[in-house]
């Protein structure tokens, strides 16, 4: 197994560049032996985090940057995604599965991150998310 991969990337608020970072994280996870289920989960959660940073944090302003820091080891994957926005209070995001919200076209990203990651944490300001995916035994 390769030693821990630790990288940092600062990208403009651009979905193609976000995809490149996402691919790099998944590639590192693949090299460290994470299974298909974990790779699917990481790809989805990182995609959601990056999309939120670009769209909601930086309002798709290409002049604003998204900073991605990640570390991939044999035990777990850590990804930090931060934007230049004002931040938000994640506890105030409505439950997208509530009947009154089910038909809303947005608001599911954080729910999916939490469903697929071992841990999801936001900084106090709400402009940085920390995703953790621990490798399951066996």
């Amino acid at each position: 197994m390769p030693s821990e991969a630790r990288r940092q990337a600062s990208i403009p608020s651009d979905y193609r560049q976000a995809k490149a970072v996402e691919d790099a994280i998944v590639a590192a996870a693949t090299a460290h032996g994470y299974n298909e289920e974990a790779l699917f989960a990481v790809r989805l959660a990182v995609e959601e985090a990056l999309a939120n940073a670009i769209r909601h944090g930086n309002h798709a302003d290409a002049r604003k940057r998204v900073l991605v820091r990640y570390a991939v080891s044999d035990r777990q994957i850590d990804v930090h995604v931060s934007d230049e926005g004002k931040g938000f209070d994640p506890s105030r995001v409505p439950d997208p599965t509530a009947a009154e919200n089910l038909q809303l076209p947005s608001g599911r990203g954080i729910m999916l991150m939490r469903a697929y990651m071992t841990k999801v944490e936001f900084n106090g300001r709400g402009n940085e998310v920390h995703l953790v995916k621990r490798k399951l035994a066996g």
């Binding site: 979905y15 193609r16 976000a18 995809k19 289920e37 699917f40 790809r43 989805l44 995609e47 959601e48 999309a51 769209r55 997208p96 599965t97 089910l102 038909q103 809303l104 076209p105 947005s106 599911r108 990203g109 729910m111 999916l112 469903a115």
Partner: protein, 119 residues
């Protein structure tokens, strides 16, 4: 790319099947183009009986789900109906987690989805 076909469209009797051609429906550009292709089918066919097939799709994001929801509303407004099919287990889990499996009828196969319109 803008000119890349995002769906393959065919008729099965009076049901229109739209097969999504992308393996990954994640980024905003792809999602917008897939949405545009699907909405075009709907706008051209009021009262449409539509099946959207996910057989080739391996990854999709919450933004893609948003397009589906908007599509469902538009189809309903035009007195049509949309059903989904061929969603692999990993993606079906997303529909279950978000409870969108309560919003859409989802079938294992295209044949089952098409036949459900004549039931």
């Amino acid at each position: 790319m803008k000119n890349q076909a995002r769906i393959a469209r065919r008729s099965e009797g009076n049901v229109t099947v739209a097969e999504l051609l992308d393996e990954e429906i994640l980024d905003e550009t792809t999602i917008a183009e897939v949405g545009e292709a699907l909405f075009t089918v709907v706008e051209e066919n009021p009262g449409l009986k539509l099946v959207v097939s996910f057989g080739r799709v391996k990854h999709l994001s919450s933004m893609a789900l948003g397009i589906l929801i908007r599509l469902g509303k538009r189809v309903e407004e035009s007195r049509g109906s949309v059903k989904l099919c061929e969603i692999r287990a990993s993606l079906h889990e997303i529909f279950v987690i978000t409870k969108l499996n309560r919003l859409f009828e989802i079938y294992d196969t295209e044949e089952m989805a098409v036949n459900s319109f004549s039931g």
